[in-house]
Amino acid sequence: MIHNKTILWVLTCLVLFLCGTFAFSQEPAAPSNVTAKDTPNDDGSSITITWDAAPEDSGVVGYKILRNSDAGEFEEVSKQLDANETKYEDKTIIKGKTHAYIVRAITDADASVDSQQTDAVQAKGQWFHTGKTPLFIAMLLFSAAIVWNIYNARSGKEIFVRRIPGLEAVDEAIGRATEMGRSILYSTGLGGVSGVATVASMTILAQVARRTANYETPLRVPSNDPIVMNVVREMVKNAYLEEGRPDAYNEENIFFLTEDQFAYAAGVDGIMVREKPAAVFLQGSFAAESLILAETGNSIGAIQIAGTDSEHQLPFFIAACDYTLIGEELYAASAYLSKEPMLLGSLRGQDWGKVILFAAIILGVFLELSGITWITEFLQRVN
């Protein structure tokens, strides 16, 4: 009897105690507003799940994401996420299948509550990244500006180009080489055939070749890219042909040396000290070897005209060469020397681009100062 009473007592206490604990550790609410959507602007390899943040006192310590495929069983696909997360990008989806998701809230007591399951979605790749629209618009506008200016220039409109210091020296250098009966050394740098600096350099080279053709001054071009070498050969041959001196063209003067940066520098240095050219042109893109070439050229007393858009090498050319075309001046020089409407027109187009940049910077400064950030947002980086 007594036993029974005690048991009853104990049981009552237990029930009361349990009720109490339940009342205090109230079951957390299930994550609400759970959505699953195809991640925008990707290649169709992920789905983004979002949900509302749990209230601060809800006792939620983290979330887990569960997924099914083609209405099958639900399985955990994430490790435990932090309690302040409200978004998960599932990158492990199976392509071609539809997936539905459940967000599981986990509480201190290691209990958990599941949300309702989302609609099943399938991931798709997008053909156009909407975040890159500003980039796309800018590209189209700039292309239009360039093409429009080239068109204008071709239809005979005069285009002014400011004097570029150093270009007068081109004729002087060629003249001196002719007088002294020495050769001219021309390096197009390390760039490949699609580099802008290389193309600009080749255009200037063609102009130099036109002038040397008449004087029969040897024009030596050691190259470090076989493709560039081949294009240079064609261009120089053409220049000699147009000047009516195809007989003066010697293919052996334009040759491949090596692709290795410093072996190229060693080779060109060797040519410089042995052949003692009267003029050295270093035009194109250069790397650390710039100063090795320019100082050796200086030591043999050649007139040196350099030009590069590799901004790191500019200081060395400025220090060691007689004239240096700085950055964009190299591109402008090819237009200036060749007087070709296409190049002049596109130079004008680039200047339009600069006007837009001025406007963007000045406007941006004032807008940012007044707390409006849409210029920086427009320029925001997207991956």
């Binding site: 156009f128 890159k132 700039f142 890219d225 090596t258 090795i292 500019l314 680039q350």
Partner: protein, 216 residues
């Protein structure tokens, strides 16, 4: 065939590659990844072609006994040794690695280190306060030069110890690099980038044809 086809190819590849940069779709990414590799696949062919012309040049030198023709044999010896061992046994071959480490690496590093000498001689000759611009160049160069080593601050803290400003050399250096230097670089980069893009547009649209020998 000689002119039109290359122009069309250039246009096609240009437009397609440009498009892949805007399109995250898996198909366009697959095209991008495939075509990027093509450049790597074609490189050896271009190089072998280049090497053939290099050999031609040196054969001519030897045949005509042009001054220093004997050294052309050295070129052949180096070229054949490396190419022979490398192509037959691969770049992981111990003999190839030994040659690379004991011949090519020291040559490369030594050529590179010549710059330490040349930078000194160039500085001595070029850094003269001839004009206002040259003076700016000179002063900026000297401040950064000396601010780069602890000696700079040592001198500053002893000679200018009466100033309430310690370690001025390295701090001025940092300010110059972070401010006027950066804005000049930005200016150059912006200008150059406009040039790069405009040239790329000209190439793709077939307006710039210098690479097929110029002319129309």
């Amino acid at each position: 065939m000689k002119r039109q086809v290359p122009l069309v190819l250039c246009f096609l590849f240009g437009v397609v590659m440009c498009f892949t940069q805007f399109s995250p779709h898996q198909y366009s990414q697959a095209v991008y990844n495939e075509v990027i590799n093509w450049a790597l696949i074609m490189a050896p062919f271009a190089l072998i072609f280049g090497t053939i012309t290099l050999i031609q040049t040196h054969v001519t030198r030897i045949r005509r006994r042009i001054e220093h023709w004997q050294y052309s044999f050295v070129v052949f010896a180096g070229l054949l040794t490396m190419a022979f061992i490398g192509i037959l046994f691969g770049p992981q071959d111990p003999a190839f690695e030994w040659l690379f480490n004991n011949v090519q690496v020291p040559l490369d590093a030594t050529m590179f280190s010549l710059l330490a000498f040349l930078i000194a001689s160039a500085a001595f000759r070029a850094f003269r306060a001839r004009t206002f611009e040259a003076t700016l160049l000179l002063i900026a160069a000297m401040i950064v030069l000396i601010g780069n080593v602890p000696v700079g601050d040592l001198i500053w803290n002893t000679v200018l110890s009466w100033l309430p400003w310690d370690n001025g050399a390295s701090e001025t250096r940092q300010w110059i690099l972070g401010n006027p230097n950066l804005s000049a670089r930005r200016g150059i980069i912006l200008g150059v980038s406009l040039g790069v893009i405009s040239q790329a547009i000209r190439l793709i649209l077939g307006i710039e044809r210098s690479y097929i020998g110029g002319g129309d």
